[in-house]
């Protein structure tokens, strides 16, 4: 499965708001705290393709493969 690679010149800090300094993943973090990496938009699907996939973002597309009696 592909790990998402970010272009590190284009980081989330610039995209959120002046009040929040939010990197894609924090360098300093705390225990007992959940962190989801901040997405940075890159390319998007064309509208009809996006509708059929369920998202415009290729990096968020996680198709499900139906299980075939393999318990």
């Amino acid at each position: 499965m592909n790990k998402y690679q970010y272009d590190h010149n284009y980081n989330a800090e610039m995209l959120v708001s002046p009040e929040f300094k939010i990197p894609v993943m924090p360098k300093e973090f705390e225990l007992a705290t959940a962190y989801v990496p901040y997405q940075v938009m890159n390319k998007i699907y064309e509208p009809m393709k996006a509708l059929m996939k369920g998202t415009i973002f290729p990096e968020l597309y996680r198709p499900y493969v139906k299980k075939k009696h393999d318990r």
Binding site: L15, V16, M41, I44, P47, L51, F57
Partner: protein, 90 residues
């Protein structure tokens, strides 16, 4: 209930562009300063306005905010859950 082929194609195009717009809407909620996303969203907004205006003029209202003929057009069938979206042939 089947609808006219051209009407169905336009409705699907509206669904697709509206969906892209909503996706960007959600992204912008958490990335309000992303100017690239904002620009794409605004492009889609313009396209969507044009498509919806054309659809409503030609076929049927999408919201109650319409200038209606008599009888009141909003009530007309088919309602969204009744439409045969003809997806099986792809």
């Amino acid at each position: 209930m089947k609808i006219d082929r051209e009407r169905l194609e336009m409705l699907k195009e509206i669904m697709a562009v509206d969906f892209s717009s909503i996706e960007l809407n959600l992204y912008l909620d958490t990335h309000p300063m992303d100017q690239k996303a904002l620009a794409i969203h605004n492009d889609y907004a313009i396209k969507l306005m044009k498509l919806k205006e054309e659809y409503q003029k030609k076929y049927a209202p999408l919201t109650h905010e319409i200038i209606s003929k008599c009888p009141w057009e909003w009530i007309e069938e088919p309602w969204p859950w009744e439409i045969d979206y003809e997806m099986g042939g792809r």
